[in-house]
Symmetry: C2
Subunit: 323 residues, 2 copies
C-alpha cells in the first residue's frame, strides 16, 4: 500500500514473480482493492495470498510517530508476518524511516550486531558494487563500520557465489592516513578482518569497480547516492536542452536514441529492486519509494537468491566470530 506508485503497479510485479519463481507471495494491504487488481491477471492463484491491513504509512508520515500510531498499517502487518515466520522475507517500497524503525523494533537485530545497515547496489563497469551503509545510520563509529564490512562481504559472496569479494573503505585518498578520524580508525579495524580488504577507495573509483563492497557511514553513503542521482540527471538535462538547439543535433539525437535508451536503463534504480537491511534477524528489503513493477520483481528475485544461500546464518556466524 505504501510507496509513491499505485498498488496496481506493485501487484503486477508480484504476479510476474509467482509466474517465474517456485514461490508464494503474500501481499499486505486493503483486501478488496488487491483482489480487484489481481482479477486483471492470469497466474497460479494459490500462490498469491492477501494479508489484510487497514492503514497505510505514507511517504510523508513522520517515521517515529507513524510507527507508534499506525499499528495496522501494511508495513506493520508485514513485519509481524515476518517475525511470526509466516513469510521468509519481507519487501517494502515505502517510507524508509518507518521501515527502519519497524525492522529494529518488531524484527530485531542479529545477536551482536550493533547497527543494521542498508546495502545499496550501484551499477559499475563490471556489474555492480554494494555500498553500505546507504543511509540507516547517520552517525557511526569504527566498530559499526567493521561490522558493515563483514556483513557486506557475506552478502556479496552469497549473491555472486564469489569466494572473496573485494572490500574498500570510502575515503578522500588512497593512503591509510587520509580522511576523517573515523575513516582512519575504520581502516585499522578492516585490516584485522578475514575479508579481502583492499584499502581506501575514492568516489571516482566506484564506477571502475575498484571494490565489490564499499564501506562508509550512512550520512556519507546517503549523500553520495543522492549525488550520483543528481549529477546524472543534470548531465542528461544539459544534453537534452543542447540537442534542441539545432536541427542537425536533433537528427543526431534521433540516430543516437539506442544510446540514450541504454543510458536510461543503466541509471534506473529499479534494476536492483530493493536494498537489504543487513544485520536484522530476518531477510528485510527496503525499496525505492518510486518502485515500479520491475523493481518489485527484481526485489523478489534477489530475496529468492539470498534465501537459497541462507545469508542470515552466514552473517550470524561471522558477527559472532569477528564482529
Amino acid at each position: 500500500m505504501s510507496g509513491e506508485r499505485p498498488p496496481a503497479v506493485l501487484i503486477k510485479g508480484c504476479v510476474q514473480a509467482v509466474k517465474t519463481f517456485p514461490i508464494s507471495v503474500v501481499i499486505t494491504g486493503e483486501e478488496t482493492l488487491i483482489q480487484n487488481e489481481l482479477k486483471k491477471h492470469k497466474y497460479p492463484e494459490e500462490r498469491i495470498l492477501i494479508l489484510p491491513s487497514h492503514d497505510v504509512i505514507g511517504m510523508d508520515d513522520v517515521p517515529s510517530k507513524a510507527f507508534r500510531q499506525k499499528k495496522d498499517a501494511s508495513l506493520m502487518v508485514g513485519c509481524r508476518a515476518l517475525k511470526g515466520e509466516m513469510i521468509d522475507a519481507f519487501i517494502t517500497p515505502g517510507n524508509t524511516g518507518a521501515a527502519l524503525a519497524a525492522a529494529l523494533f518488531v524484527i530485531g537485530r542479529i545477536k551482536g550486531v550493533k547497527r543494521p545497515a542498508l546495502a545499496i547496489s550501484i551499477p559499475t563497469r563490471k556489474g555492480y558494487a554494494l555500498m553500505l551503509d546507504g543511509g540507516a545510520n547517520s552517525d557511526c563509529n569504527a566498530r559499526y563500520l567493521r561490522q558493515f564490512a563483514l556483513m557486506g562481504s557475506v552478502y556479496y559472496k552469497n549473491m555472486h557465489t564469489l569466494s572473496a569479494p573485494s572490500v574498500g573503505l570510502l575515503n578522500v585518498g588512497e593512503e591509510d592516513k587520509k580522511g576523517s578520524e573515523l575513516a582512519q580508525q575504520a581502516y585499522k579495524e578492516l585490516q584485522k578482518l578475514p575479508i579481502n580488504f583492499i584499502g581506501n577507495i575514492e568516489p571516482n573509483q566506484i564506477f571502475s569497480h575498484k571494490a565489490d563492497v564499499i564501506i562508509c557511514d550512512g550520512f556519507v553513503g546517503n549523500l553520495v547516492l543522492k549525488n550520483i542521482e543528481g549529477t546524472a540527471k543534470y548531465l542528461v538535462d544539459i544534453i537534452k536542452s543542447e540537442i534542441m538547439q539545432g536541427v542537425l543535433t536533433r537528427v543526431g539525437a534521433f540516430l543516437m536514441s539506442p544510446v540514450f535508451r541504454r543510458l536510461k536503463q543503466e541509471l534506473n534504480p529499479a534494476r536492483f529492486g530493493a536494498a537489504p537491511l543487513l544485520g536484522v534477524s530476518k531477510p528485510f528489503f527496503i525499496g525505492h519509494g518510486n518502485s515500479s513493477d520491475a523493481s518489485i520483481f527484481g526485489a523478489i528475485r534477489t530475496a529468492v537468491k539470498v534465501l537459497d544461500n541462507d545469508f542470515i546464518s552466514n552473517i550470524t556466524e561471522d558477527i559472532d566470530r569477528w564482529g
Copy 2:
C-alpha cells in the same frame, strides 16, 4: 613549477592575464626556464617579474615533509612574497596538502578563524554554487561550519555584488532533524547568523542551484566533489562506448558533436580557475594539479575581482562580530 602540467602552460596563462588586466604577475620558479618560455610571447614585459626558486614540491611529495624540508620550493618562495606584501594574492596549482600547510604556517589565519576552508565552485543551471569546505578539514565541529557559512557568504557577495547570497547546509533531507549530529548542530548555528540561511540542501539539489553557498565538512565536501567528477566521467564513457556499437549511432554522434563539446566545457574544472582558501589572512588560491593556461588565467581573473572588493577585510569584520 608545481602542478601536473609543464611550466610553459602555466606561463601562457600569466601572459594572457597581463595582456587583459591592469596588473603585474610575479612567477616563482627556475629563472632560466621561465625566461626562455617568456621569450616566446609578446606582452608588456615590465609586468611579468620572476622570483627565482630552486626547488619544487611535486604532486607526490608528502605535504608535511616537503613543507619542512623544501624551504626554497616555488610554493614556499611565493608564500613568503605574499607574507611580505610583495604580492597581493598568491595562486598555486600544486600539491594541495603542502599548499594548505604553507598557508597555515607561513601566511597564518585571520584573527578568530578556527579553520580555513577551501571554497570550490560547482557549475549549476544558474551559474555556479560555492561549496565549502571542499577538503581542507576532514573533521569539523559546528563552530567551524558556522564560520564557513560566514566566510562563504561574504566571498560570494564580493564575487557577485549580491546583497544576500542563499546559504544551504548539505544534508540527507530537508527537515532540521535530519542527518548526522554535526549537521543538526550546524543547522542551529547557521540559523543564528545574519546570513540568508535557507536550511538543508540535498546533493541532488546542488545543480538546480537551490543555494548559492553550500556548507559541509571537508571530508564530505571532498567526497562529493570527487563523486561528481566520477559520475560525469562514467556517463560520458558509457555514451562513448555505446556510440561505437553501430554505424547510425556514430553518424548521430558526429551530428551531435556540438552538444558534447558543450558538455565537456561545462564539466571542465578549469572554468573556475582556482579555489580560494578562505580564512587565511591574505588572498590565497589553490588550483587543480591539472591546471591549464585557461585555469591560471581564470584564477588570476578571480583574484583581481575579489581584491577589488577587499574580501579579506570583509571576512575579518564578520568573523570578529559573528564568528
